[in-house]
């Protein structure tokens, strides 16, 4: 299989360079590639379509305004986008909680959105060939799930609550009854283990 778009950081960096020069079409192209991924992540954390849309918009506004400051030494474009989406989604949820004085736990609004939780759908990346695209994404998802499952249960727990639920380490300590400092340490060890597991999966996949 040729290098999939999701892994083609050189091409992504060319988009970023064009955006930094004020090329609006490149922003839309980058959105077509990663917008759905950012949106899905934000929706997973915020459980609200309007919030997830706002978060995605904030991410791409930040890209538009900050493309010139993107530092390829520090990671891929995809990592940059997804880290921003995560941070902004968690922030948006915490702001909403402060406003309401309660956890934001209302279900996602249905509206006119099309959600496809079951199908390994198209998160907007352009591989040209939709079948290859789906196959690549399915493989990726399975690889990440395998890596998650390879973690010790208490490590998987902090990663799941922290990353997917957007909980702070204090909230997780309160939820799990573990001492405060322990959760921080566990998060670090869990991510280190995850990074190793993902690397080994990649190596396997490359045969």
């Amino acid at each position: 299989m040729s290098v999939p778009a999701g892994g083609n950081d050189a091409e992504d960096r060319r988009f970023i360079a064009r955006i930094a020069r004020g090329d609006g079409a490149a922003l839309t192209s980058l959105y077509d590639r990663y917008g759905a991924m950012c949106y899905s992540l934000a929706l997973r954390i915020a459980h609200s379509v309007p919030l997830a849309e706002d978060v995605t918009q904030e991410v791409f506004l930040a890209v538009w305004q900050g493309a010139g400051k993107f530092d390829p030494e520090r990671g891929t474009v995809r990592t940059w986008l997804l880290a921003m989406a995560h941070h902004k989604a968690v922030d948006a949820v915490r702001r909403a909680e402060v406003r309401r004085g309660q956890p934001a736990d209302e279900p996602a609004e249905g509206g006119d959105e099309v959600r496809e939780p079951a199908r390994p759908g198209n998160p907007g990346m352009h591989l040209g060939d939709p079948v290859a695209e789906e196959a690549w994404l399915t493989l990726q998802r399975e690889a990440v799930q395998r890596a998650l499952e390879s973690l010790a249960p208490e490590q998987r727990e902090v990663v799941t609550l922290g990353y997917f639920e957007g909980m702070t380490h204090r909230e997780i300590a309160a939820r799990t009854g573990a001492p405060l400092g322990t959760i921080k340490t566990r998060m670090r060890l869990a991510l280190q283990a995850l990074a190793r597991a993902l690397r080994s999966v990649e190596t396997d996949a490359e045969r």
Partner: protein, 240 residues
């Protein structure tokens, strides 16, 4: 705090799981510590891969429209403004521009007291020009009102140097019978700046008062005839 203690926060930082003060403290350390930066970068890549495990949801086409409008709208907004507000992108850029031209046009028209109903073409052209000048003025700012956002989405477009401002009401729930929304400029004591009842479609409400000296704007629900002072907590508010 020692390097070791800071380094213990790396995982929680990457997962956005630190409390705000902890986050600030860690980021201060991060700027000075290449070792922690390298680990953050490596763990961040692993964390970002977790997003791939999420079942994909398809965003609506209107989100793509909002993203495509960013370059246009970001240009209208003053680039060097301290905190650019992305919310305006919610509406198609053209509709917003049209609404603002109408709104600011109305304001300026009353300001320059166009008495004749048969305003000459020349005058209207001049007014149009003036509106465009206000919009292009880097001192013109936009801010979204926060609070009970389920009640409505309202943006304030204002220029303190020109003492001009309009509220762009994109949505707003109907107030209870016999009541209306009242605007308050914070000076910093709330001073009434007009009343309005929401309409079905996006519309604009001129804001009258001492915008130049104001520190913020708020909306409360009041009896239809208005109140000399707010009688309830603001539903929506923005400060600057």
């Amino acid at each position: 705090m020692s390097h070791r203690e800071h380094a213990d926060s790396i995982g929680a930082y990457v997962l956005d799981a630190l409390e705000p003060e902890e986050r600030r403290a860690f980021e201060a350390h991060l700027r000075a510590c290449p070792i922690c930066r390298a680990e953050v970068d490596s763990l961040r890549a692993a964390a970002a891969d977790l997003a791939l495990a999420i079942p994909p949801a398809l965003p609506s086409g209107r989100l793509r429209d909002r993203i495509a409008a960013i370059p246009t709208v970001a240009r209208i907004e003053s680039p060097p403004s301290p905190r650019p507000i992305p919310w305006l992108v919610r509406w198609p850029a053209l509709a917003v521009a049209a609404a603002l031209v109408v709104a600011l046009g109305g304001l300026l028209a009353s300001n320059i007291q166009m008495k004749s109903e048969m305003a000459s073409m020349k005058q209207s052209m001049a007014m149009h020009q003036q509106v465009l000048t206000v919009l292009a003025d880097p001192a013109t700012k936009m801010t979204m009102l926060r609070g009970q956002e389920e009640m409505g989405r309202v943006t304030f477009v204002y220029n303190r140097q020109r003492n001009a401002g309009v509220l762009v009401i994109s949505t707003m729930k109907t107030p209870p019978a016999g009541q209306a929304y009242q605007l308050w400029l914070l000076l910093p004591e709330p001073a009434s700046a007009g009343m309005f009842k929401p309409q079905a479609e996006m519309h604009v409400v001129p804001v009258t008062g001492n915008i130049a000296m104001s520190k913020g704007i708020g909306i409360t629900v009041e009896p239809e005839q208005g109140s000399p002072r707010p009688t309830s907590q603001p539903l929506l508010i923005a400060t600057w």
